[in-house]
């Protein structure tokens, strides 16, 4: 199989990268009717599989699960998840031949094997649904020409997909139809109906393409979402301990701080996050984030280049073939960091204190979000797609860190994201060596405003505010956030 993207002529590459349409709610007036009475069969029953299935069934659709024989006979967790919630469970041979829509919610690295096993069993004219385009775009999987291939990707962990649905809302969702596989032209209608079934249509739906989804998703998760949050967390913790801040306090500040800080980001973008700082602290955070952007720009560009050329997926697939040797080694190493091993102290940290005492993280987040966004847009990805894969998802990932630190983050995200995260982290830490030498506890661990009179130069402040507010990620963010104002505040602190 050849990398699909690399087989395309440049014009078609640009064409597919540029698919990006934020859909109007009027597009969903048909509800679930395009899938009503159809047999939906979900392959795999992990967090995404189970929770999407529960939602679809509660929307009046016919849902069952198919698992590998070994999973059924061994009564594995996936089998338990499905049967304990009263779903029909069967083998591929039993359920796939009658399925109108087969939903592949297995991990990326199983896709080739799963699709090769189910494709011959699928009936003429059925639909194959993915929630990530890696298999189609990077591995170049060829799907039978009579089958329709679509993607529906809720931009949240599975548990949120369910939680938002039962309260009557949903999570932002990305949909796509693979242009090589839409023989009957029904792909889009089915994808939209699926969104209604999971509740996604209430929180904003972005029509994208398999190509745009993969190239932006990989970039976002490797750099700002997981990579930089990991690097920033570890460096911040180590710096505080080095400077004599109580380790329990440092651990708590880092574990929960990123969640509190990015909650402001979720509500009102970089602007709202920076506005939580005092004027002096804001100017400082702006200056160091500019410096951080200059330092890290080549690394962000390298990641985007490797993703576009297929180099990233090639090396990762080598690791798959190698039994995940690198992945497992790096995962173990992350488990051994001092931050991971120091429990959060039993100290109360006020909400504002997370901003005042952790100015460094605010700077990291601004630098990372803007860089990821800029780099994606320069590579031909549309601003809306770039927004979802940078700013929008950052608070969701931060939430996993608050739950159980980096271990939890790396457990929740896909293996693909985790692999890219470690690659970034390993390259980024040495890059920031000189920068971190200059950092003191006023930026991380203590209140930045302490001992300062708060005076700032008017012109300077105006310029800083202007630079923050006029960035393109803020412009596009303001529009997109309107559609998801009702997103629940996820708080653990």
């Amino acid at each position: 199989m050849a990398n699909y993207f690399n087989t395309l002529p440049l014009r078609e590459k640009l064409n597919q990268l540029g698919v990006c349409d934020f859909m109007d709610s009027a597009e969903f007036l048909d509800g679930v009717s395009a899938l009503k009475g159809k047999k939906l069969v979900i392959v795999g029953c992990g967090a995404q599989g189970l929770n999407q299935g529960l939602n679809l069934r509660d929307s009046g659709l016919d849902v069952s699960y198919t698992l590998r024989k070994e999973a059924i006979e061994g009564k594995r967790d996936s089998w338990k998840n499905a049967t304990e919630n009263n779903f029909t469970v069967g083998t591929y041979e039993e359920l796939i031949p009658n399925a109108d829509v087969v939903i592949n919610l297995t991990p990326d690295k199983q896709h080739t094997a799963v699709v090769n096993a189910i494709m011959p069993l699928m009936k003429e004219g059925a639909t194959l649904l993915y929630s990530h385009g890696f298999n189609i775009v990077e591995e170049g999987m060829q799907i039978r020409k009579d089958l329709t291939v679509i993607m529906v990707a809720p931009k949240c962990p599975g548990s949120e997909v369910r939680a938002e649905y039962v309260r009557g809302f949903g999570v932002p969702t990305l949909i796509a139809v693979h242009p090589e596989n839409d023989p009957q032209g029904k792909g889009l209608a089915q994808a939209k109906a699926y969104c209604v079934g999971t509740g996604g249509h209430r929180a904003g739906v972005l029509k994208s393409s398999f190509v745009a989804e993969v190239k932006s998703d990989l970039m976002g998760e490797q750099t700002i979402l997981c990579g930089l949050l990991q690097t920033g967390s570890i460096l911040s913790f180590d710096k505080m301990v080095e400077k004599g801040i109580d380790a329990g306090y440092a651990s708590k500040l880092v574990q929960y701080g990123v969640e509190v800080i990015t909650e402001a980001l979720k509500q009102g973008g970089i602007t709202a996050m920076m506005d939580r700082l005092s004027n002096v602290a804001k100017i400082k955070a702006f200056e160091i984030s500019e410096e951080l952007k200059d330092i890290m720009r080549p690394l962000f560009q390298k990641h985007q280049d490797d993703i576009m050329s297929g180099e990233f997926s090639r090396t990762m697939m080598e690791d798959w073939a190698n039994g995940d040797k690198n992945l497992l080694k790096w995962r173990a190493e992350t488990g051994e960091t001092a931050f991971e091993k120091t429990p959060a102290g039993d100290v109360k940290i006020g909400e504002q204190e997370y901003f005042d005492n952790y100015t460094l993280m605010v700077a990291f987040v601004r630098a990372g979000v803007e860089l990821a966004f800029e780099t994606m847009v320069q590579a031909g990805i549309k601003p809306e797609s770039a927004y979802y894969e940078s700013l929008h998802e950052t608070p969701l990932i931060a939430n996993t860190i608050a739950r159980k630190k980096l271990f939890e983050m790396n457990r929740v995200i896909s293996d693909t994201a985790e692999y890219g995260c470690y690659l970034f982290d390993q390259a980024c830490k040495p890059l920031l060596g000189d920068f971190m030498k200059k950092v003191d506890t006023d930026l991380v661990g203590k209140n930045f405003n302490e001992g300062k009179d708060g005076a700032v130069d008017n012109r300077k402040l105006i310029d800083v505010n202007e630079a923050i507010r006029s960035h393109e990620v803020e412009q596009i963010g303001a529009t997109l956030r309107k559609a998801m104002t009702a997103m629940k505040a996820i708080k653990t602190a």
């Binding site: 679930v32 009503k36 009475g37 189970l50 529960l54 069934r57 509660d58 929307s59 009046g60 338990k80 998840n81 304990e84 919630n85 009263n86 548990s159 369910r162 939680a163 039962v166 309260r167 009557g168 809302f169 209430r202 608050a402 739950r403 159980k404 939890e408 009702a486 629940k488 505040a489 996820i490 708080k491 653990t492």
Partner: protein
């Protein structure tokens, strides 16, 4: 010279820019145990939290612990709202998630929770066992925290407090969600710990109290006032005419509201509902009763479309077989529901007005603009419940009694065919309860169907005509208690 046990001087507290406590002075002497009662919203909970050191206030609070006593020199405040976390540390769930099999594994078990608590406080586990027995809680040891009903959560908190025996024990709404038997046993246990030297402050308006209670007080205008006994406090409340839109009779699509045929629900080995057969016809008024943990809330979750195991049972709602292509939103649009769990897990970011308005769409939180007629109806109901001055406040900023009123308003806003009121008056004072039940009677006289869960005969709407009693997941009694004239 004896010092008072608790000595409070010049205590001042503001909350959301409102004066709650003003120059409060109080001496609680050795041997005294108090009930602090009075209207909802006077600052009882704030005072309790201040004494326990949980919220800062201006003024002086001295607690003179008995140095010679073996009891822990500690003030323990038992909240009326108990927050637990799942194993990932997430505190806010949606109540429906209790029923999904996968989610249930993510919280601690009761046993693990108690072992952890005993370890933290240096307590012996054999001492907690009699308390668990007395409150009928021993059978819950292996239950997950998220599986517990509100009454069971309350018991868990009480178990911990009675096990610890702090020198000062403050319990906010001790009887909330407890059935009659548990209330009696709780009073016996409280008397036992009082005998051993624990001094109590109970915050409630109940009349059946432990014998050790020898003093009563209320908060008036920010000051604590000792009273001889609790009066049934007058609350400013709706004796107005109900809004016209609530007088319209519901239009039924089917005579059969609920029909269950041999319904069974279990989690793994544990069977919570056994061979349930039950029919509710349009316009009937049902009382659903049973001990804590008898399966009441599970039964109601089936009716409200919340239970994933509905799909494996023979269940008909509003004339349609469950699982025949309807969505849960199709079901919910016929129903107005309130339960303690629903309140527990309600959206903390919603204002009073938004909370009520969300009842039109059966959503937890408001996600859309209301058309003019609906928005007027919300205003009318806000006015009717006397909530106008609170309408833009966050629901969670109100005292619990008022929060409950808001959610009751949400329950009836769409004038639904079926009202499901699961302990609707928890947290309301006597008078509010009486008025609310009058309102229920009035609504039901227009043909609305009712399923009401309540423990006390004295605190029920008069329209109740049929009763179903559950015991250990089985239907024990189905009877007609009031012939329709």
């Amino acid at each position: 010279m004896f010092k008072p046990f608790v000595h409070i001087q010049n205590l001042n507290l503001n909350y959301h820019n409102k004066v709650v406590l003003k120059d409060l002075y109080w001496e609680m002497n050795i041997g005294e145990s108090y009930v602090i009662g009075g209207k909802s919203g006077t600052g009882k909970t704030s005072l309790a939290k201040t004494i326990a050191g949980l919220i800062p206030a201006q003024g002086s609070i001295e607690i003179n612990f008995d140095e010679l006593s073996a009891l822990p020199k500690e003030v323990l405040y038992v909240e009326s709202w108990y927050q637990f976390k799942n194993l990932e540390g997430v505190a806010n769930f949606y109540y429906q998630q209790r029923y999904t099999s996968q989610q249930a594994k993510e919280t601690l078990t009761v046993h693990a929770e108690l072992v952890g608590y005993g370890k933290e406080k240096g307590l012996h586990f054999d001492q907690v066992e009699p308390i668990l027995e007395a409150l009928g809680f021993a059978t819950f040891a292996s239950s997950q925290l998220i599986e517990l009903s509100s009454g069971e959560h309350k018991k868990l908190q009480l178990v911990k407090a009675l096990w610890l025996k702090p020198q000062l024990l403050i319990i906010d709404q001790p009887y909330t969600g407890l059935d009659v038997a548990s209330r009696k046993n709780l009073n016996i246990l409280l008397d036992q710990v009082a005998e051993e030297g624990v001094q109590l402050i109970l915050i409630c308006n109940d009349s059946e109290l432990p014998a050790c209670i020898n003093s009563f007080a209320e908060i008036r205008d920010g000051k604590l006032v000792k009273v001889d006994a609790l009066e049934s406090s007058a609350t400013e409340i709706y004796l107005r005419e109900i809004p016209a839109f609530l007088k319209e009779s519901p239009v039924y699509s089917s005579e059969d509201i609920v029909k269950m045929v041999d319904v069974n629900i279990s989690y793994g080995e544990k069977q919570v509902l056994k061979n349930i057969n039950w029919e509710v016809k349009a316009g009937e008024k049902w009382l659903l009763q049973g001990h804590n943990g008898s399966g009441k809330s599970t039964l109601l979750s089936l009716v409200n479309g919340d239970h994933p195991q509905s799909y494996a049972n023979e269940l008909y709602l509003f004339g349609n077989r469950r699982g025949s292509g309807e969505s849960i939103w199709d079901i919910k649009q016929h129903i107005g529901l309130i339960s303690p769990e629903f309140h527990w897990y309600f959206d903390p970011t919603a204002t009073v007005w938004q909370s009520i308005a969300s009842g039109f769409y059966d959503t937890v939180g408001l996600f859309q603009q209301l058309p003019y007629t609906k928005s007027t109806q919300v205003d009318e109901l806000v006015e009717y419940f006397g909530l106008t001055e609170n309408k833009n406040e966050l629901l969670t900023a109100l005292p619990l009694g008022k929060q409950r009123l808001v959610l009751l308003a949400r329950t009836i806003i769409k004038n639904p065919e079926l009202l499901i009121l699961d302990e609707p008056c928890q947290g309301l004072d006597r008078q509010q309860t009486q008025h609310f039940n009058q309102l229920v009677d009035e609504l039901c006289s227009n043909g609305m169907t009712l399923i009401y869960v309540g423990h006390f005969e004295s605190q029920l709407p008069t329209c109740i005509e049929k009763r179903i009693l559950l015991e250990k997941g089985e239907v024990k009694v189905v009877e007609t208690i009031l012939e329709n004239v």
